[in-house]
């Protein structure tokens, strides 16, 4: 039963290890379970072909329920240059966001800090998985501070950024040091219909 599998993660967290994208999918699926109720959640998962959680795209059930509110839809190395604060001001609680490290070092990429998937909780707080010794909730500043720490981030003039081939683009070289992009949230209109006969 998918709800049992989800709560096994909650009950036995030390038995699991995952990256940020999977962690927020666990939370978003738990939110669906608590909203739909157990029976409808099981039917919705079955209709979606089962519960699968992993990195990359939103799988099956989440793909169906998540609405994309805004995004540059532009590769990270071609972003238009809007300040991250502009994105933060339009976030709503429950939004899933991606915080991009625009100049990760090779070590930063290897360590998983090319970016951070997070959930906006309101009041400037976020759920973000993996920040060492990170409190809960965590602020955007804490996540940014970690991603921009020495060794994980480097924007020296001659440093080739690890995020793409257009690292020489002045917008990258001179733009903001990080980026918040692509936010999604559960679409109430769709969620209302899940699992109904």
């Amino acid at each position: 039963m998918p709800d049992v599998a989800l709560y096994d993660i909650v009950d036995n967290p030390l038995s699991y290890s995952m990256e940020c994208a999977s962690a927020i999918k666990v939370v978003l699926n738990l939110a669906l379970l608590q909203t739909l109720g157990s029976e409808r959640f099981r039917r919705a998962v079955a209709d979606a072909g089962g519960l699968r959680i992993g990195q990359g795209v939103y799988e099956a059930l989440l793909l169906k329920t998540m609405k994309r509110e805004t995004s540059s839809s532009v590769p990270a190395d071609q972003f238009p240059g809007m300040a991250s604060a502009d994105f933060e001001s339009t976030m709503m609680p429950g939004d899933a966001v991606y915080m991009i490290n625009l100049a990760p070092t090779p070590l930063g990429v290897q360590a998983g800090w090319r970016g951070e998937n997070a959930l906006a909780l309101g009041g400037g707080n976020f759920f973000g998985h993996g920040v060492p010794n990170g409190p809960y909730p965590v602020t955007a500043g804490t996540i940014r501070g970690h991603m921009m720490s020495p060794g994980l981030w480097d924007r020296t003039p001659d440093f080739a950024t690890a995020i793409g081939t257009r690292s020489a683009n002045p917008k990258i070289k001179n733009g903001p040091p990080w980026w918040v992009d692509e936010y999604f949230h559960h679409d109430a209109t769709v969620v209302k219909t899940l699992g109904l006969p």
């Binding site: 709800d3 049992v4 599998a5 096994d8 993660i9 009950d11 036995n12 967290p13 030390l14 038995s15 699991y16 290890s17 995952m18 990256e19 994208a21 999977s22 962690a23 666990v26 939370v27 978003l28 738990l30 939110a31 669906l32 608590q34 909203t35 739909l36 109720g37 959680i53 992993g54 990195q55 990359g56 795209v57 939103y58 998540m66 609405k67 994309r68 509110e69 805004t70 709503m92 429950g94 899933a96 991606y98 991009i100 990429v109 290897q110 360590a111 998983g112 090319r114 998937n117 959930l119 909780l121 309101g122 759920f127 998985h129 993996g130 809960y136 692509e182 999604f184 949230h185 559960h186």
Partner: protein
């Protein structure tokens, strides 16, 4: 020091399934509240945080059953999740504006 990719050992003890009733009204506010409550459920357990894996599994590890715990619905024990890296943002195809 054990490898961060060591296979899980032993079995986990799973309590009886929690049964939830659907909320009376499913709207944006209900969903936002549910996301916050779920994030609290996972994030506030400071003594028992889910581990962080930053590197992808090799194919050898990925397809090794020792790295997976199969869900046994009959006994409600175990669950499986893959350990992977975080190199890209999620993506979907729909688009609207708020």
């Amino acid at each position: 020091m054990s490898s961060p990719f060591a296979p899980p050992t032993g079995t986990t003890n799973v309590t009886s399934p929690r049964l939830f009733r659907a909320v009376a009204v499913i709207d944006d506010a209900a969903l936002q509240g549910a996301v916050k409550a779920s994030a609290d459920l996972v994030g506030k357990n400071l003594k028992g945080r889910i581990g962080f894996a930053s590197s992808p599994l090799s194919d050898k590890q990925k397809f090794n059953p020792a790295y997976w715990k199969q869900l046994d619905a009959a006994t409600a024990s175990g669950a499986s999740i893959r350990r992977t890296s975080c190199p890209t943002s999620p993506s979907t195809t729909s688009s609207t504006t708020r």
